[in-house]
């Protein structure tokens, strides 16, 4: 059971059950739909910003606890964050999550999202964790 707890921390289970930012009420054109073809998980994510600050990250989708909690944690992390921070945060997240457990997310920069640190040891779950972040990256190019 301890191995499972390493991946499925209480914070992850909480976010997957009571996700933050769930529901697409915004009309923002900055949106992206992403699918993980291996398991069928999908997400539609929209970003709202005022030119300097991210005001909201909204999303809808369905998937495993890792993909859902990752979207929820991402939404929490970016609200009221400077727009200029987004790109480096996504890059750091991607590097850590793909590092097979060798790089940890910095708590000062990622806050609660460091609960996703456990994912990087599980090659099969990296795609789950990264889905929302890929959607975010894509949405900002729109």
């Amino acid at each position: 059971m301890s191995d499972l707890r390493h991946l499925y921390q209480e914070l992850i289970l909480d976010h997957s059950r009571n996700p933050h930012g769930y529901g697409l009420s915004t009309e923002s054109p900055l949106r992206s739909h992403q699918v993980n073809p291996t398991c069928g998980d999908e997400i539609t994510l929209a970003v709202v910003h005022d030119g300097t600050t991210v005001t909201a990250v909204q999303w809808e989708g369905q998937g495993c606890a890792i993909s859902q909690s990752s979207a929820s944690l991402l939404s929490t992390l970016l609200e009221n964050r400077p727009l200029a921070d987004v790109e480096p945060l996504v890059a750091e997240f991607r590097e850590a999550i793909q590092s097979r457990g060798t790089i940890e997310l910095d708590e000062d920069r990622f806050g609660d999202a460091i609960a996703l640190n456990g994912v990087s040891k599980y090659v099969a779950r990296v795609k789950c964790a990264i889905l929302a972040w890929v959607a975010l990256e894509d949405a900002l190019t729109k």
Binding site: L4, L7, C39, G40, D41, C64, A65, R125
Partner: protein
């Protein structure tokens, strides 16, 4: 060809002896002995199948159906012997069995050749479609037996219709949907999600009544029990080598000879012609007409060895083993609070396969808990999105057994599911 449950399953000792021949079953995964319950996706290969392939490659390898030297003649003979062995296994003539890369390619071959024939006014009318014609599939198909028919409909203007399924996945509407306009009916023999057999006899009888061609996806039936395509009376059928102890990269298409003869080739090139000029070509009769280019010789030889292995075990007994473990899986899952088993209810015939949902927990998370214990199952939509949608799901988890699977493995799997239910706090 439903399995006869009166026939005897393998004894515990016999299964142990079978397992000895599969080195991978002795491996550990995540520090646990591997429990492989994903044979419906791909089966494991016994040592002797690899040995047969290696022996051919190391001692007799050469180009088949070309060249006149001794080794080439021996290789050709062995390649054609493999065809005869596999053809006999499914009750058909060797010249009615075409090697393909996999079942998907076999289905695409029929769809593309018919699309091509439909554009040629001189082609045989039996294999030509036009607007107003109907193609019928079922709602439970694997995407491999759906997309080629979507393509054929798009190319010819024919209409694609389907036989719906009920909440248990039982195919409905055979007499209503298959009608005078129906020209082709494509369906799975056994479902890769539900584990149930389709009413093949009823569908084929109805299709014959209206003069429609039948195409059978036999990927989940040929590995798991005795199947005789000629006795079934189906026009085309496909299956895959890697799901029946054989290698990847080899599968087969059966076609009734007169229909194969009516079809133009799918791929063109070397080894499938009689005369070629700079303007045109004349094609060999089946099966060579459909085997352009260098063939998968060592894979065909390996698949024939896999067939001999299965024949020695006896397909009736393979089916009995599968049916018993399938029931153990389904009954055991149904007894866990919060688990919904897909497909036929308890007591109904199923192959050694059970897909299920743990209420409130995504299949991927269920699969992860098992993977941590070295238990390999499939999670996702299993290439059957429309069926999952019909059942109100996006994904499910699926455990599937084969000749080497044991009661203990099924029980370890069930214990893992109970543990996952507890861990994720499933409250039924």
């Amino acid at each position: 060809m439903l399995p006869n449950s009166a026939l005897t399953d393998f004894s515990r000792d016999e299964v142990a002896a079978i397992r000895e021949q599969f080195p991978i079953l002795g491996e550990s995964v995540n520090e646990h002995p591997l429990v492989y319950l994903d044979s419906a996706a791909t089966s494991q290969r016994p040592q002797r199948v690899l040995d047969a392939e290696r022996d051919y490659v190391l001692r007799r390898n050469s180009a088949v159906h070309r060249g006149a030297h001794t080794l080439a003649a021996l290789a050709t003979e062995e390649f054609e012997d493999a065809r005869a062995t596999v053809a006999r296994f499914v009750g058909v003539r060797p010249d009615e069995l075409i090697w393909t890369s996999n079942a998907t390619e076999g289905l695409n071959l029929v769809a593309h050749a018919m699309a091509d024939a439909s554009l040629d006014p001189a082609a045989d009318p039996r294999v030509r479609l036009q607007p107003g014609d109907e193609i019928v599939v079922t709602e439970l198909e694997h995407h491999a037996n759906l997309l080629p028919w979507q393509y054929l409909a798009r190319r010819t203007g024919a209409t694609l219709r389907y036989l719906p399924v009920d909440d248990e996945g039982v195919i409905q509407g055979i007499d209503e949907v298959i009608g005078e306009r129906t020209r082709l009916v494509a369906f799975s023999h056994a479902s890769n999600v539900l584990g149930s057999y389709s009413p093949a006899e009823l569908i084929i009888a109805r299709a014959r009544e209206v003069g429609a061609i039948t195409v059978l996806d036999a990927c989940q039936s040929v590995p798991h029990g005795p199947v005789d395509f000629a006795a079934l009376g189906v026009d085309f059928a496909v299956f895959s080598g890697h799901k029946m102890l054989g290698p990847t990269g080899i599968g087969a298409l059966y076609g009734r000879f007169e229909l194969l003869s009516a079809l133009p080739p799918f791929l063109t090139g070397g080894s499938m012609i009689t005369t070629v000029t700079m303007d045109r070509a004349e094609f060999l009769p089946p099966p060579q007409r459909f085997e352009a280019g260098t063939q998968r010789v060592s894979q065909a030889i390996a698949l024939a060895e896999a067939v001999r292995f299965l024949e020695e075990l006896g397909m009736d007994r393979v089916a009995a083993h599968d049916a018993r473990l399938g029931a153990r899986l389904a009954d055991g899952l149904a007894a866990i609070p919060g688990v919904r088993v897909l497909g036929p209810s308890a007591g109904a015939t199923r192959i050694g396969l059970a897909a299920f949902v743990l209420e409130g927990v995504h299949a991927h998370d269920v699969g992860h808990v098992l993977d941590e214990r070295g238990i390999a199952i499939r999670v996702g939509h299993h290439c059957a999105q429309p069926l999952h949608r019909r059942l109100g799901l996006a994904a499910s988890a699926r455990a599937s057994t084969y000749i080497y699977s044991t009661d203990d493995e099924v029980d370890a799997f069930l214990a893992g599911i109970a543990e996952a239910a507890e861990f994720f706090g499933v409250n039924p």
